[in-house]
Symmetry: C2
Subunit: 190 residues, 2 copies
DNA sequence: GTCTATAGTGCGATAGAC
DNA sequence: GTCTATCGCACTATAGAC
């Protein structure tokens, strides 16, 4: 779970100033949505002016893309780690527990951002996104392309990502949530 | 599944013109997000001007609220139907299959709208939302308030809502998706 | 790398004619 | 109920001083 600079990752190296902006956007996007977050909000969050933000990124779209790729990179690291496993069963367990960790770690953040219409639009023709998704699909489903496997896998991923921000679990602490999620996810996998 | 004017529902009666605006917003919000959808887009979608839209709703917020309440009303109808069941097991099955129907019927629409930060903010102090949620919780969990039951229920609801718009199932037809979803959801319930 | 200042655009919302 | 026209404002983005 340490920070990994995965081989297949193409995210350009980010300066410290750029990372601060990405962090601010990461905090504001889930609360207001991507479209509802202005550069003024990001600048205010960092205690600087809009012009200082524009010195790091030429457009708002570049910031959105950087945030999306940063989140995608976290998922890619989990997938890459699982691909290195010795058996398929062990790989499946690694990817599920990695995604549980990711989801619990960010709770509201990750899922909200990745499901924002603007981000979805950015990923619609993003080759790295398709690459990670097909590797994830291969890890979880193997060569089974039947309706059963696809619905089952989609439900599993949606259940993990969506449950962490559900009102029913807001007052559970991270450890309890992580343990229950992993246990139920493994049971669902069968 | 017919249109139901549920007893507990407080949504004000809507004129035909208002319903057309709600329909346009319902189509545009998932694609651009609530903040990313302007009144100009809604007006263009209907072939009228902004002023005509403002004649039906005084503010954009009123339109957003109307859309949110319309979606909530669909869920409330499912909950009310299940509450009328003779046994608890039958009620649970009714609520799960009702939510599956809802999710498949709208695919991208409902979940995207209900998870939009602006809508979430509107529901944050919306008494009807809390009422429907607690009734849903009672139907699915009974008096069990343990971490296991809460995580399990949150996963079930998130799995159904989230799976319908997952890339893995985009090319499945509605009937197949509905059948598989219901079967797997019942299996997960145990 | 940060600032002030500003250009240009689209937004939500209103007034008043038909 | 829809229109044209407009107001005031916040937005993205840029120019140029420090």
């Amino acid at each position: 779970m340490a920070s990994v600079n995965a081989v297949g990752s193409k995210s350009p190296a980010r300066s410290a100033a750029q990372l601060r902006i990405i962090g601010a956007a990461l905090a504001l996007f889930p609360e207001h949505g991507v479209s509802g977050t202005s550069l003024q909000m990001i600048a205010d969050h960092l205690g600087v002016t809009k012009a200082a933000v524009y010195h790091q990124f030429n457009t708002k779209d570049e910031i959105v893309l950087a945030v999306a790729e940063a989140e995608l990179a976290r998922l890619e690291a989990v997938v890459a780690g699982a691909e290195a496993a010795s058996t398929q069963a062990r790989a499946r367990l690694l990817v599920v527990s990695g995604i549980v960790d990711l989801a619990v770690d960010s709770r509201r953040t990750t899922t909200t951002i990745l499901s924002d219409p603007v981000i979805v639009g950015f990923f619609a023709d993003h080759h790295t996104f398709f690459d990670v998704m097909s590797r994830l699909r291969r890890l979880l489903m193997g060569d089974d392309v039947g309706a059963d496997a696809r619905v089952r896998t989609a439900m599993l991923l949606a259940a993990i990502s969506g449950a962490v921000m559900h009102p029913f679990v807001v007052d559970l602490d991270d450890d309890t949530l992580r343990t229950e999620l992993l246990r139920l996810a493994r049971r669902f996998l069968g």
